[in-house]
């Protein structure tokens, strides 16, 4: 009898953890309701109060920093550095990037999230942590390339949804990733003795089209900005392609193709809006 009650209590607890109310559970077990009710109320309080115990932001930073230190402490020989030899972590990371780039990767729920969606912050957080846990400069460059492509995919989706401000911000973020990728390759190229990498010309970027008064992005100005971002990003990718080690070139070539397609589509969508 006692054993049976333990099972019932546990069954109710599982149902409550899945979102059932205490009343739902009591209805399911009317014969045990009197005995169950106070215990389920205790479980409810326990569950609520436990959920309030969370790691602080300081602890998050501290753990992350410690994980980086753990990885750094692993012995790495000089030849394992950029450009060709990698530790197991980095090699595997590259293989995952190939899967993503090929568009056949299995994305988690947060990896599919779009801006303004609940899981989007988790997606950005996992990117930041992934970047922090990546040590090889080559793999950092790959990640920046991958994240830039994610931003342009999101940008196109936001254009379809008519979210102009998001389109603008995502284009900016994609550009920032490509700039960082280019800087890494430039630095590594110089370090590897190739001399100074091909300099990127200065671009005249139109001013941001989000006036404080209106709080919205002017569509004509946005198309202009997208064109400028696209030209600049494409150029940086092409320059990086010349300086990049062979291993990275397929990623950059694919990124260039994706960039052309995503910006082409987004600009077309935005232009059709602004012309209508």
């Amino acid at each position: 009898m006692a054993q049976k009650f333990e099972d019932i209590l546990n069954s109710c607890l599982e149902r409550m953890l899945q979102g059932a109310s205490i009343d739902d559970c009591l209805e399911a077990y009317p014969d045990q309701a009197i005995e169950l009710e106070p215990l389920l109320k205790t479980c409810s309080i326990l569950s609520q109060k436990s959920a309030e115990i969370r790691a602080s932001s300081e602890l998050r930073k501290r753990v992350l920093s410690h994980l980086q230190a753990v990885l750094c402490a692993k012995p790495v020989s000089a030849r394992e550095r950029f450009p060709l030899q990698h530790r197991r972590w980095a090699v595997a990371l590259a293989s995952v990037l190939v899967v993503f780039a090929a568009g056949t990767g299995i994305f988690t729920a947060s990896e599919k999230a779009m801006p303004n969606e609940l899981l989007y912050p988790a997606k950005l957080a996992s990117e930041q942590i992934g970047m922090a846990l990546t040590f090889s400069d080559l793999n950092k460059a790959k990640l920046h390339t991958q994240f830039a492509q994610r931003r342009t995919v999101e940008m196109t989706e936001m254009a379809l949804r008519g979210e102009d401000d998001a389109v603008f911000l995502l284009s900016e973020k994609a550009s920032a990733h490509i700039t960082q990728m280019k800087e890494i390759i430039e630095t590594e190229s110089t370090r590897a003795g190739k001399g100074a990498a091909t300099p990127a010309p200065a671009f005249s970027i139109p001013p941001g089209p989000a006036p404080a008064e209106s709080g919205t992005v002017d569509k004509d100005n946005l198309v202009e900005t997208l064109n400028a971002d696209y030209t600049r990003s494409l150029h940086l990718l092409q320059v990086a392609l010349e300086d990049a080690p062979e291993e990275l070139k397929p990623y950059l070539e694919r990124a260039i193709e994706n960039l052309k397609a995503d910006y082409g589509r987004t600009i077309s969508i935005m232009s059709s809006y602004s012309n209508s």
Binding site: A2, Q3, F5, E6, D7, L9, N10, L13, E14, L17, I34, E37, P38, L39, K41, T42, C43, S44, I45, L46, S47, K49, S50, E52, I53, R54, A55, S56, L59, R60, R62, V63, L64, H66, L67, V70, L71, R87, R88, W89, A90, V91, A92, L93, S95, V96, I106, T108, A109, S110, A122, A125, S126, E127, I129, G130, A132, L133, T134, L143
Partner: protein, 179 residues
Amino acid sequence: MSIEENIVSRAVKGDGEAFALLYEEYLDKIYRYIYLRLGNKEGAEDLTQEVFARALEAIGHYKWRNLPFASWLFRIAHNQVIDHFRKESKIEKIDWDDNIAPSHDPGPESITQHKLEAKELAETVKKLSPAQREVISLRFGAELSVAEAAEVLGKNPGTIKALQHNAIISLRKMMAGTD
């Protein structure tokens, strides 16, 4: 293959971003479990950090078929807590046959309005027997199922359910202030 299995298999192969997703998923749960076991913030933070460092070092050897990932990770956390008590010379003897139900039931008074802060919760849980505290921390802190908790502790699910039942009765008494 479930989403988590896919992420874990990527992390096992060395994918930093996959490990980051697991870290994001489990950080609060690991911290919460340890906090409830130790009852203090500083110690819980130190051990949480150590658990993830151990997990990062060991994940290359993890095999899903032997143990669900959550059970594997919380086994690391459980061992860290045991080591902590050992180092602190607080010998925590866990009696797994600690299944005797409390003799007095406090009656049907409502405790839903009872104010219980997180620290108070930890203090209250600390008053349970070590075995009951372990089970409550795994079930409510770590949010593990009975089967997963049984895997972590190397016990059968029936033992976990019995400990859980008695722990909830004890907690109810304590939270109602009648103990």
